[in-house]
């Protein structure tokens, strides 16, 4: 199929429809209004259902209902709306229901602003709502990846019966890039689910619940979820490695920040600095192992986020003290330029004496 030039929000909607999603429930909030707008007309074309709910609370609970009925279902919102959905996301996890939730992240806390930000990392990767649970969090960095990861999100949600979050930002929602869409999936061709509410015809009645009053029973449920999360971590952790082969310093960034970081790395490479990028594509499960493995040869990491510093904590936990972890962040919806990030990279690079001939060492910029 030929490539199409499309903005991120529309890519997301189109990819969802092609992935077999026929139910979308949402509420307007900037900067993601193009998603419900696109879905409202696209669902009409494909005989799907679009409901503009009275709130994000209602949206996520409609998602719960549609998921119970076995449908591929999606909602999208932006930071304050995602905060409102946390109750429902906790229920989705507890009820083990598949659903795709898109957060087009904006600056916060509170009403914040509508500029692109990455300040909902903690909320997304720590669960966000109450209880012992995890959500799978995917972080695309381009319109093509937005398309691919949207497909993947529906598959992962169904495979693990777990909510999947897609983390974007206003930049990704607005920017236009050429995208090649996979062939559409006919929802009727998807594997049947044997746990949905469909009416007790020819089988005993079924209940989908998360209320487990007996502590031992709830503990068993919690440990069952833990085993599922372990499987997700083993099977689904995903990341991109960019110019790591000879790298003496590695930038860790995701999403839009990773795009900026790549621009910065191209600039410093021209200056002879050997810098690479590790870009988590799954924020949870977080690519801990590749980061830890990296510390066998790289002792200087620079975490770059469009936040006041959130993923940096996961990077520090992953490397277990085996590398120096620096941080550069611009919160509040400020979008740093590649030059600005290049300046930070070179600052730490020179400071650690990583230039050729500075200090020959197998372990670049050791922390000892």
């Amino acid at each position: 199929m030929a490539k199409q030039l499309m903005r991120g929000s529309h890519v997301l909607g189109e990819a969802a429809v092609r992935a077999g999603c026929r139910y979308y429930f949402g509420y307007p909030i900037t900067p993601q209004n193009e998603v419900p707008e696109y879905m409202s007309s696209r669902m009409l074309q494909v005989g799907g259902t679009f409901v503009q709910a009275e709130s994000e609370l209602a949206s996520i609970n409609m998602v719960i209902g549609a998921a119970m009925a076995g449908a591929r279902v999606m909602t999208s919102s932006s930071s304050p709306g995602i905060s409102l959905m946390q109750e429902g996301i906790s229920y989705l996890a507890g009820l083990e229901l598949p659903a795709v939730i898109v957060n087009v992240v904006r600056g916060g806390p509170g009403l914040g602003n509508i500029a692109p930000a990455q300040s909902d990392y903690f909320q997304a990767t720590r669960g966000g709502g109450h209880g012992d649970y995890r959500t799978i969090v995917l972080a695309p960095d381009s319109c093509q990846e937005l398309c691919d990861l949207t497909f993947k999100a529906f598959d992962l949600a169904d495979k693990y019966r777990n909510p999947v979050l897609i983390m974007g930002d206003g930049m990704m929602g607005q920017m236009m890039e050429p995208v090649e869409f996979p062939e559409p999936i006919d929802p009727a061709s998807l594997p049947a689910k044997d746990w949905t509410l469909s009416g007790a015809k020819g089988r005993p009645s079924r209940v989908i619940l998360s209320l487990l009053l007996n502590p031992k029973v709830l503990e068993d449920h919690n440990f069952k979820l833990v085993r599922k999360y372990d499987a997700v971590t083993r099977e689904e952790t995903d990341w991109e490695e960019y110019l790591l082969d000879d790298a003496r310093q590695v930038v860790v960034a995701y999403g839009t920040a990773a795009r900026i970081a790549k621009g910065a790395i191209k600039r410093v490479r021209q200056m002879g600095l050997k810098v690479g990028l590790l870009r988590p594509k799954t924020l949870w499960p977080f690519p801990e192992k590749p980061l830890k493995d990296l510390t066998r040869v790289v002792r200087q990491l620079l975490v770059f986020e469009m936040s006041a510093g959130q993923m940096v904590e996961d990077v520090k936990m992953a490397v277990e003290g085996q590398a120096q972890v620096h941080f550069y962040g611009r919160p509040g919806g400020v979008i740093p330029t590649p030059d600005e990030v290049a300046h930070q990279i070179s600052h730490y690079y020179y400071q650690a004496g990583l230039m050729e001939g500075d200090k020959p060492s197998k372990r670049h910029g050791g922390v000892a």
Binding site: A53, E54, A58, I64, S198, A200
Partner: protein, 250 residues
């Protein structure tokens, strides 16, 4: 010998956990009888609330899905939009439908969702131990209204069902009571009609059932039933609140 009375098929043979004299047991039975009589057990899906009736899935022998507190009508909306040929009902208490879930409830009615809501009004938060509900009567005692509900301090009881009448998508709204045998018969008739509205695809239907809670009212069951019949109906009069079904024209 002809069998003239038996347990409804749509109720599991489990003993109710409800307190002696609680109205839930009666209302559960009425809903189950209606499901049996309409022959819809195999395509009915219930959405129980948070509250005393959270365990309704232990009793209704139909598929059930749990909703977060107050969100039953949003969850039901999601279910019904996917399962258009199924019968979806919510079973909610006053705190659930008329306090924390007011927005979800009014808007489900306004969209004309083809759902049947059973709204059990006992004027109290039963499960949490008798706090003030949106429907607690003026002067009525609760664990959070010392000296009784003071309208100037605590606000007045909210008549959600009446509010729903303003919502254009609501088709049939009736308030009934299970405090007397006559009331119980009327309640069953209303519940059956509310399911029929859904089967006919007319729109949103709700039956509000005034129901005694002897435990939290600190009354014996007989006094609680009398109080429901005499006092609750002063603030929440029983009767049809809205009916644009057109059924009566036949």
């Amino acid at each position: 010998m002809k069998k003239i009375f038996e347990a409804p098929k749509s109720l599991k043979p489990n003993l109710f956990h409800y307190c002696p004299g609680c109205g839930h047991s009666i209302i559960h039975r009425l809903v189950a009888e209606v499901i049996d009589e309409l022959g819809i057990q195999e395509r009915t899906i219930g959405v129980p609330p948070a509250g005393c009736a959270v365990l309704a899935y232990n009793y209704f022998d139909v598929d059930t899905g749990e909703a977060p507190h107050g969100r039953a009508l949003a969850v039901a909306t999601g279910l019904k939009r996917v399962l258009k040929d199924h019968v979806i009902f919510t079973y909610q208490g006053d705190g659930d439908i008329a306090a924390i879930g007011t927005a979800e409830s009014i808007h489900a009615a306004n969209r004309g969702e083809k759902i049947t809501a059973i709204f059990v009004n006992n004027g109290t938060y039963g499960m949490t131990g008798g706090q003030m509900a949106p429907t607690t009567l003026p002067g009525m005692g609760s664990t959070t209204t010392p000296g009784g509900r003071d309208v100037a301090r605590d606000g007045a009881p909210l008549d959600l069902t009446k509010m729903m009448a303003e919502a254009k998508g609501s088709v049939y709204l009736e308030r009934v009571s299970v405090a007397t045998p006559k009331g119980i018969r009327k309640a069953k008739k209303a519940i059956k009609k509310a399911f029929q509205v859904q089967l006919d695809g007319l729109g949103f239907a709700l039956v509000e059932v005034l129901s005694p809670c002897p435990t939290n009212w600190k009354m014996d069951p007989v006094a609680a039933y009398e109080w429901t019949d005499k006092e609750m109906t002063k603030i929440f009069p029983v009767g049809v609140i809205k009916d644009i079904t057109g059924y009566d024209k036949d």
